[in-house]
Subunit: 421 residues, 2 copies
């Protein structure tokens, strides 16, 4: 028997997660700010994957990123380059980054910078990054890469990003933990419903953007873009959750899950006490509500790094805070309560800062314990958008999904082997 | 026996209330836009009252309004004028207007203009007005009238109001019914908790204000002012509720309450089928949570026209939508649910557009039926801010209050006499 105290290790890991203080401190170009980022590297959502196994939306986003980078003029040129071996593909997670859906991030892209301002004693000081949210419709994160997508990306990078950078810095940063705590009292769960968070984000920025923008028209366009996009805060929220989860990662002897993510083909997890190893298996197609004209036959398997929200104790885990979400993902408001209640069974703690008014301000279930998942047979509940399986069609619905149980079982076996239980 | 069909009359009144379409279409100076407004008239919250019976905050606001108008330079000069008989006092309600707390509105003040854009067949076409919200601290609506209050009012009128007017017009109006419907899904109840509504209001305006403001600094200051004030949308919301309730007023044979308001001394109601008559009795002191350093001995009796929200089916009636409000007014989240459930017992309908996710999207209890109040012994539940009884100290807490039962009994007796039941 090992002399590792799992309970103590988990308490340490989850304390680091909960006591993290993720603050959005700025915005920069990936190659300048993400350590290790380079021009021939494309970051992507989920665990590692090769070109031949990538789904439609992931491939489309890769193509779009190379066109955005000016490395290709057409999809054909991009594909040739992508299979040539000259471009490296690596998970965002390997670079302290996260991206929704395809999550493809290339060297010239602007990224939000989130700093965990907690004391080093509780794991603070780390950085995390996420790209900018493009809004709805035909967007890169769903694998669209055509001209209008490129035009939007160019405007976001040339016009919006410099203004946001200046505004965030002028504000001295934006406390994302505080913003999320407030948004959870305003009907958000922080993953699939970020309406309140996005308007809070917009109103915080609106106090500064008109002063730092080059002119009133540009300021208005930026604020309208942020305000009309109910997901505008998703990317900073994801980076904040990544910063929190990374703080909890690497605690020797801990069975706490420190990352969950999907690349559209596989669902992968990492565990705090199991280093950099991924445990991955085929991702499921979410159950949910489809937009008119679409059904599950059009759906791609689960995709995106946004499950970092559930890993950090919000998203599906905080659904009881967001009863109105059922109009979007199907179900009844009582299902939202039940989802959160179920997640208390597989988590080791209740969040100190994220609370749910309808549950008498109980903290959200936080810190997925591998052992509890396997013992109870309950996998984490995840709220998610559903991507069309063909590149660039976009979102076709939203719903709930669970990771495959096999990856938790495999991780637990590995844990037992490593620590000699 | 009368041959009036009360059920039919009430159905007509409540349909007009629910089907009203209050849209914030602009902003103007009271003397220019409120029919009948004149320079020697001060509008105030609540039912009619004379100077000698006015509470501290009401008197303070009257003094402040005369200083703002340039009719007095000091409180003493103002008081002399107020008791001279040269100034008329009349309820806001007599001028299609409503104002929070003291609600004092003078001829030079800017007011929001809300138009009920429903068809004339369901009572549409009427206008309603409300003054601008000054934010927190020492403000006119709590009876403060000193120099800093005047400076803030001057900035609001000279700088903010012209920009808001242009922005609202450039947007083609702001649909307040839609905004409220969304805010109720984001943890607001629309009276004492308007956090979500105020950030939604700010983000809608943020898409235009930078373009119509004279410069970026001014745009930023206006948007910061709106965004930091969790009550910035309260006044347009109150005007919207007034437009809805006025549409329901004047239906022959209806026992539906079409106005509830307080002047800090008396609580008054009007009834749809009883014309312009007020039924009034002494207002209570609210039960609630006091800010540090204050208790009920400091509290003024219930004050303000904001009970127009409960009259229209939101506020205390929609508390189940806003479980987080209990941190502000005391109680448990289950009390919020119970409050709404109780109000179904005294209302004739459920709102079609204002729904509560936690109650499976049930419509809010709407249309207070005088008969049900008297029969059940249940008076309406009202969420409210609590004013200090001395002029200008400001808000000292927030809580729940009920109107005196006597006014409902008196109204029912009058109804019986008028219609010969």
């Amino acid at each position: 028997m090992s002399n590792i105290d799992i309970e103590q290790a988990n308490a340490t890991a989850v304390e680091r997660m909960i006591e993290s203080q993720p603050v959005l401190t700025g915005l920069g170009i990936a190659r300048d700010v993400i350590p290790g980022m380079r021009d021939n590297l494309l970051l992507h959502a989920g665990p590692p994957i090769t070109w031949d196994r990538m789904s439609g939306p992931m491939r489309g986003a890769m193509i779009g990123a190379l066109i955005f980078e000016g490395k290709a003029n057409t999809a054909e040129e991009a594909e040739a380059l992508l299979i040539s071996g000259e471009i490296d593909f690596e998970p965002c997670h390997h670079y302290a980054s996260v991206g929704p859906m395809a999550g493809v991030t290339s060297a010239s892209m602007a990224v939000y910078i989130v700093e965990n301002q907690a004391d080093a004693a509780v794991g603070g000081g780390n950085l995390a990054f996420s790209n900018l949210n493009e809004g709805y419709g035909k967007v890169l994160r769903y694998g669209a890469y055509q001209e209008d997508v490129q035009e939007r990306l160019t405007w976001m990078h040339e016009v919006m990003a410099p203004v946001l950078k200046e505004a965030i810095e002028a504000l001295g940063g934006i406390d994302i933990r505080a913003l999320l705590a407030e948004a959870l009292h305003m009907g958000d769960e922080g993953h699939n419903r970020n309406k309140a968070g996005s308007v809070l984000f917009t109103k915080i920025l609106a106090a500064v953007v008109p002063e730092v923008a080059p002119d009133g028209k540009t300021a208005a366009a930026i604020l309208k873009g942020l305000g009309d996009n109910a997901l505008s805060v998703l990317n900073p929220v994801m980076a904040a959750c990544k910063a929190s989860c990374d703080a909890a990662h690497g605690v020797e002897g801990s069975t706490i899950v420190s990352a969950m993510c999907r690349n559209g083909t596989d669902f992968g997890i990492r565990v705090s006490g199991l280093g950099d190893q991924w445990f991955a298996a085929p991702a499921q197609v979410p159950d949910g509500l489809y937009f008119p004209g679409f059904d599950s036959s059009h759906a791609n398997a689960d995709i995106g790094d946004s499950t970092i929200t559930e890993t950090a104790g919000i998203g599906g885990f905080a659904m009881a805070a967001a009863p109105a979400i059922v109009t979007f993902i199907s179900g009844k408001p009582s299902d939202a309560i039940n989802t959160t209640m179920e997640m208390y069974e597989i988590t080791s703690s209740e969040h100190k800062y994220f609370t749910i008014p309808a549950l008498d301000f109980r903290g959200t279930p936080t810190g997925i314990d591998l052992r509890s998942v396997v013992e109870t047979g309950l996998t984490p509940r995840i709220n998610t958008g559903i991507a069309h399986k063909e590149a660039g069609v976009g979102q076709v619905g939203a719903g709930l999904v669970r990771p495959p149980m096999a990856i938790f079982e495999e991780a637990l076996v590995t844990f037992a082997e490593k620590y000699g239980f």
